[in-house]
């Protein structure tokens, strides 16, 4: 199948979204952006992405709330969700994993880290 796979990058920082989009595009994903959880949810209802790189702390709807709602959507269990957050306390990371995130990236990150995590969850 030659369909281009999509990765939704959800982050309230425009700069962070641009950096992440450039990296996922190098990994052969089509990158799409959303500035908060609600915007991301609207996108997912229209077209479910293959992967989601998800910030935690965001205005309107945070990453955890988005993940909870996404999983309740039809086909909402399909996207592989990788958290990407400045939060690095082990108990908080465990919470994200318990809520169904496949992997977790602690900011700051670089291209190698995203590639390594995408490989770990079988996206590449």
């Amino acid at each position: 199948m030659n369909r281009v796979r999509t990765c939704l990058v959800v982050d309230d920082s425009r700069v962070m979204r641009k950096v992440a989009i450039r990296i996922v595009e190098q990994l052969d994903f089509e990158g799409i952006e959303a500035g908060d959880g609600l915007e991301a949810l609207t996108y997912c209802r229209a077209a479910m992405p293959d992967a989601i790189l998800l910030d935690w702390s965001m205005p309107v709807m945070d990453g955890m709330e988005f993940l909870r709602r996404l999983r309740a959507e039809p086909d909402g269990t399909r996207p592989v969700v990788v958290f990407c957050s400045a939060e690095s306390r082990p108990d908080r990371i465990r919470l994200a994993i318990d809520h169904g995130a496949a992997e977790y990236i602690m900011k700051p990150f670089d291209g190698d880290i995203i590639a390594s995590k995408f490989e770990a969850v079988g996206l590449i």
Partner: protein, 283 residues
């Protein structure tokens, strides 16, 4: 770095570690030697090499060789190899060993990620008599780091699944430290791989990955002979997935890239011939 300076460093590492330095490594060597020059309080790498040429001090020589050869490594590097070790190699060794511990040698352990990866796999398995890991490297600085088990934010995010990070590390300020339980499984030994390894005992699993490919043919033969000398009769030898070392007839391929089985050479007509490996498929 001038060609003469590069040639000088290349001679040092060939002589002291049997390693062939590639010419395209010039930039990378300069970066590695910068900190050595600062420690020695000399103004820059050319001055450092000048000093060494005029006064060939063994301690400084060693520091230069060590810094030049410092290996870049990561946790679970080449995931498929570790999957195979965790799912097949270690369980079968544990079953065969019974009441004696499974002994693992990591030859060229650099900053320790590979040895700790093995230790993590071992904790997943119930190895009745436990596992003993001996990790050997030429460099005292990488070993010092390995021994502390302290890794940066970036290092723990390369190759290490988040669940394993949570299971086996504590967060200390901005860094992460391997649990004492894992650190106690590993003995760190500062030694040149060109020297005799037999004082370390014999091993069930020997890893020497991405080391052999950089050696001179003489050094490679010497390291392979000393690795073979510490392999138990039914040991598994793991080299780099892309490496094709000139192994003796007592090793047979397993069909998994880089993983070789030690045993009596039953097929002298086809010594050490690897089993054909299907091309790696990516999804």
């Amino acid at each position: 770095m001038t060609p003469a300076e590069l040639a000088f460093v290349a001679d040092l590492v060939r002589h002291h570690a049997g390693v062939v330095l590639r010419a395209d490594k010039a930039f990378f060597i300069e970066t590695r030697l910068g900190p050595v020059a600062r420690r020695e309080k000399v103004p820059g790498v050319p001055a450092l090499l000048d000093q060494l040429r005029q006064h060939p001090d063994p301690v400084l020589t060693r520091q230069v060789v060590e810094a030049t050869l410092m290996q870049d490594t990561s946790f679970f590097r080449d995931r498929a190899v570790f999957t195979r070790i965790g799912e097949a190699v270690l369980p079968s060794l544990a079953a065969r060993r019974g009441h004696s511990p499974v002994r693992v040698l990591v030859a060229g352990c650099a900053t320790g990620q590979e040895a700790y990866s093995i230790a993590m796999l071992a904790t997943d398995l119930a190895v009745p008599a436990g596992i003993e890991i001996v990790a050997v490297d030429f460099g005292s600085l990488p070993l010092e780091k390995a021994r502390t088990g302290l890794y940066t934010h970036f290092e723990v995010q390369r190759g290490l699944p988040i669940r394993r990070l949570l299971a086996h590390f504590d967060k200390i300020d901005e860094n992460w430290r391997v649990h004492a339980e894992l650190r106690q499984m590993i003995a760190w030994v500062e030694q040149n791989l060109l020297d005799d390894l037999t004082p370390l005992g014999t091993f069930d699993l020997v890893l020497c990955r991405n080391v052999l490919g950089s050696l001179t043919p003489e050094a490679e033969a010497r390291v392979l002979a000393s690795l073979e000398a510490v392999c138990r009769p039914d040991a598994t030898l793991v080299v780099g997935a892309q490496e094709t070392p000139r192994l003796s007839a007592t090793f047979t391929g397993t069909g998994h890239p880089g993983i070789w089985q030690h045993g009596p050479s039953r097929h002298p007509a086809a010594p050490g011939r690897p089993v054909p490996v299907p091309a790696r498929t990516r999804t």
